[in-house]
């Protein structure tokens, strides 16, 4: 049994410790918002937060996150940064197919928590690990800037 803390909910899972967090979330816990894209931390679709840090859940074994705080796309909107990003994503019409966007938002949320006023270069660097095959990158940049500006306005 491995104790997990997912979106504030503590639960034990009966799986081998090397099982990636991604498949535990998706297949065992029914949290399918976190997406599979490559299985090798190359595309960022599976990004979640572990103790506030962006982590690729496809290569993160559950044994490594035992008792740590895991936050997924389903709960990232519980705080102001996540909520502002989700609103900006809708407002700017960022998604096309939308499949990668959970990972994009998780990477963006980690960026804004670390760097509330990111420069263009900082945005590009922080988001470069997240592939969007539809090519929504220019709108992702715009949405991050909008969310950052909004956060700045309310602070």
């Amino acid at each position: 049994m491995i104790p997990l803390d997912i979106n504030g909910k503590r639960q034990n899972v009966d799986l081998p410790g090397e099982t990636p967090l991604l498949w535990t979330l998706r297949d065992e816990l029914g949290l399918t918002g976190t997406k599979f894209g490559c299985g090798m931390a190359l595309c960022g679709a599976c990004t979640v937060h572990v103790d506030g840090q962006p982590v690729r859940s496809c290569i993160t074994p559950i044994s490594a996150v035992a008792s740590k705080k895991v936050v997924t796309i389903e709960a990232v909107g519980a705080d102001a940064v996540g909520k502002a990003l989700q609103a900006a994503w809708v407002d700017k019409g960022v998604p096309q197919c939308g499949y990668c966007q959970a990972g994009q938002i998780m990477s963006a949320a980690a960026l804004l928590k670390r760097t509330p006023k990111p420069s263009e270069t900082q945005i590009d660097e922080a988001m470069n690990g997240n592939i969007c095959r539809c090519g929504t990158y220019t709108r992702i940049r715009a949405a991050i800037k909008q969310a950052a500006a909004q956060q700045g306005g309310t602070r």
Partner: protein, 764 residues
């Protein structure tokens, strides 16, 4: 919603009755087209030419609950183009529905009920704009009739307006919910009696004000894709497939796989020998309690493959063989004037050869499907561009009637043509059957996706020109050599089909008197399939690069030269260009309009500030292409540093796709096409060695990332007229991008790229 999924309007009106009403009208009257050539009985165009055509039955697409909630069915698959917002928006507009009270339901795969559902060819909007308008108008008319009856006034005195019907004289009003039941007893109006809105009255169409219907679900992780299906008792499967096209399992040992914790079953899927069609390629499946366990089980399988006749497929050798073919005469597919004589007598001669490799769609959501079989019925869930094909082929494989198969279409995490081929649905069906109908989800890994795709073709384009004293071409030869998509269905096919030739090789609308287009043979050694914009990619790359090369040789401005080669504004019959396909559209309704092509060139150039001074290492390149009956031009600004690294600060795209339903999604499609086009130009390549794909994942099969994305992509939409035929949007933005980039690189550096991807070709 008080009456969920209760098709209130549907009650009491038989489909047969509606169809009788339909048969009177014909397409023309309700729509206000100028005149469709009714004589064209033999050949059908547009949606009429697609399997199961179109349906404009409001009973199939619209239902109204008593609380006033309007549910509109979207029968086309959503893969990022915005169709689940766009199609219902058309219905809602004519229906005078309040968008806030509209819900969108996704159709199951059922073309008899909904009309054609093949979501490909950039045709959802152009084929269904008018049927969807009629759906909305018919439902609106039924609501008005119900209100008039209730008030005992002539229907001419009432008017539907923003989710209610108003009696003009008295100001009495009734909401759509209150009228729903009574409206259901009204006959569906005959098509020719329908009153469509004047486009000036549109409230949603063309405004670009509505947010995506799935936007919030996507941003909060609630949206459901094919890979997200979960059913009670479901098993998770991955499949080890033959690494070589046409290969099969020689022998396998499941023992170690079955020892992996969580693995429940190992099942062989019978190989389908070529031609591939949409069949699974066979292999060995591992079924487990979760996807990870299945993947671990697959790793533990011991399989000996029989590679079959394509084991020698080698991309380096194949490229050489295509080049050899391209340098010899081939099947003549268009011959205007006399190329040979004109070239012999020309003041100058030019020749160039271009190469575009195989590509894989690499949808972010890899193929995935779930099947459950119970009580003689089969249910399928998945990300399908062609749900009816999934239904028919699953039924066939299971030996069931298609009536007993229901295909639930999820959101598609990208399509790009890959998900037009439902091989993964058949895999899931075979596996579910093997475990007595238990639900089974098949998930493809990224490696599976890259190793067993239906690849974009690989091509060599050989061009020759004879030019006059001013460097203007008077003779044009284009030999296109590429394995055809038809080979996936008929292994004897060695020539490009009409639909491939009609993607920018045969139908160049240039003002050149002597044009010869040839198509030497090529044999396919893998599954060739549709990839976003298909053969337009290599054709536009070659043609638009070659025109720029001729401009450079003539010492002319590339934009002015391109306009001169296009020639004066005129309407050219596709048939005159040897194009019998014309993207499936009527040659009368959709002539090739060089005036529109000129206009996008001029617009893109003007908006990009063509001719502006740029610092050293920067350049502008232009390219234009007609495809999917739309006209697109792009100006790319490139910066090449002293090490040869490329960045693209800005791209301007001008698009003439006729009138638009959702201009914001036209923009987003162009933005995405630009990013994908840049990836094709700079990074993308699938190559084979020993019959096997050499790229395993996104480390070797690279696609554009944030850093490679232009700072600015500016999209300029040419205003359209709703009375004129619409063009496609999803695909035509891609083809002009690679040549525009390479033309920009030439302007910046003097180096000409003729082989894609560019990768390190500029590295110093």
């Amino acid at each position: 919603m008080s009456a969920p999924v209760d098709r209130v309007i549907v009650a009491n009106v038989s489909r047969r009755r509606f169809l009788q009403g339909m048969s009177l009208g014909g397409l023309v009257l309700a729509v206000g087209y100028p005149s469709i050539a009714r004589a064209q009985e033999a050949k059908k165009y547009g949606a009429d030419g697609m399997p199961n055509g179109w349906v404009d039955n409001p009973l199939a697409f619209v239902s109204i609950a008593e609380d006033g909630t309007v549910t509109i069915v979207c029968h086309r698959s959503e893969m990022g183009q915005g169709v689940r917002t766009g199609m219902p928006m058309i219905v809602a507009d004519e229906l005078e529905a309040d968008w806030k009270r509209v819900r969108v339901a996704q159709a199951t795969g059922d073309e008899k009920k909904f009309g054609n559902q093949d979501t490909d060819g950039s045709r959802s909007t152009r084929h269904f704009f008018e049927p969807m308008r009629r759906c909305g108008a018919a439902a609106r008319t039924m609501l008005e009739a119900a209100a008039a009856e209730r008030w005992k006034v002539p229907v001419s005195e009432v008017e539907a307006k923003n989710h209610e019907v108003v009696h003009r004289a008295t100001g009495k009003r009734l909401g759509y919910g209150a009228l729903a039941k009574a409206a259901a007893t009204q006959p569906v109006p005959a098509r020719e009696t329908l009153r469509l809105k004047d486009p000036k009255q549109f409230r949603y169409i063309g405004k670009g004000q509505l947010k995506l219907v799935d936007g919030r679900d996507i941003a909060t992780g609630k949206a459901q894709y094919g890979i997200d299906t979960r059913l009670p008792g479901m098993l998770y499967a991955v499949v080890a497939r033959p690494p070589v096209y046409g290969g099969k399992v020689a022998s396998f040992d499941p023992a170690e796989a079955l020892k992996v914790p969580g693995v429940e079953r190992v099942v062989e899927i019978e190989a389908s020998p070529p031609p591939a069609h949409f069949n699974p390629v066979g292999g060995v499946a591992v079924l487990a309690r979760n996807t990870w366990a299945a993947m671990q089980g697959r790793r533990a399988l011991k399989i000996t493959w029989d590679d079959g006749p394509n084991a020698g497929y080698d991309s380096t050798a194949y490229k050489a063989s295509l080049e050899e073919s391209a340098r010899k005469a081939g099947k003549v597919v268009r011959n205007d004037g006399d190329f040979t004589a004109a070239a012999a007598g020309a003041a100058g001669r030019h020749e160039a050869e271009y190469y575009v490799p195989h590509l894989a769609h690499a949808t972010m959501e890899p193929p995935a499907a779930t099947v459950r079989i119970a009580n003689g019925k089969c249910e399928v869930w998945g990300c399908f561009q062609s749900p009816q094909a999934a239904r028919d082929l699953v039924a066939k494989r299971l030996g069931m009637s298609a009536d007993d198969v229901t295909v639930h279409v999820t959101l598609l995490g990208g399509g790009f043509g890959r998900k037009s081929k439902p091989d993964y649905a058949i895999e899931a069906a075979v596996l579910s059957k093997a475990v007595d109908g238990k639900p089974v989800k098949v998930t493809w890994t990224r490696e599976d996706d890259l190793h067993n795709s239906y690849y974009h073709t690989v091509s060599v384009e050989h061009l020759e020109a004879g030019v006059d004293g001013q460097g203007k071409p008077v003779a044009w030869l284009h030999r296109s050599v590429a394995p055809t998509i038809i080979s996936t269905f008929n292994p004897a096919a060695k020539n490009e089909a009409a639909f491939e030739l009609g993607m920018g090789v045969i139908n160049v609308p240039f003002a050149i008197p002597n044009i010869r287009i040839e198509n030497p043979e090529a044999v396919a050694h893998t599954r060739i399939g549709w990839f976003r914009s298909v053969s337009n990619i290599p054709h536009a790359f070659a043609v638009q690069s070659f025109v720029a090369e001729l401009a450079a040789a003539a010492g002319r401005d590339p934009k002015d030269f391109l306009l001169e080669v296009i020639g004066p504004a005129r309407q050219v019959s596709p048939e005159m260009l040897g194009d019998t396909w014309n993207h499936g559209e009527s040659p009368e309704r959709y002539p090739v309009d060089t005036g529109r092509l000129r206009r996008v060139v001029e617009t893109a150039a003007r908006e990009a500030g063509w001719g502006r001074k740029l610092p050293k290492g920067r350049g502008l390149g232009i390219a234009a292409h007609y495809s999917f009956v739309s006209y697109i031009a792009a100006v790319v600004e490139v910066a090449v540093d002293d090490k040869g690294a490329i960045t693209v600060p800005r791209v301007d795209m001008a698009v003439d796709c006729g009138a638009t339903v959702n201009p914001d999604r036209v923009r987003s499609q162009m933005e995405g096409a630009c990013v994908m086009g840049l990836g094709i130009a700079t990074l993308g390549e699938i190559s084979f060695k020993d019959g096997r794909v050499q790229q395993n994942n996104f480390d070797a099969y690279e696609v554009t990332r944030m850093v490679g994305t232009p700072r600015e992509i500016r999209v300029h939409i040419i205003p359209g007229d709703y009375s004129k035929p619409m063009g496609g949007v999803g695909e035509p933005g891609v083809p002009p991008i690679p040549p525009a980039l390479c033309n920009a690189i030439f302007a910046a550096t003097g180096k000409r790229i003729r082989r894609l991807p560019i990768r390190d070709q500029l590295t110093v």
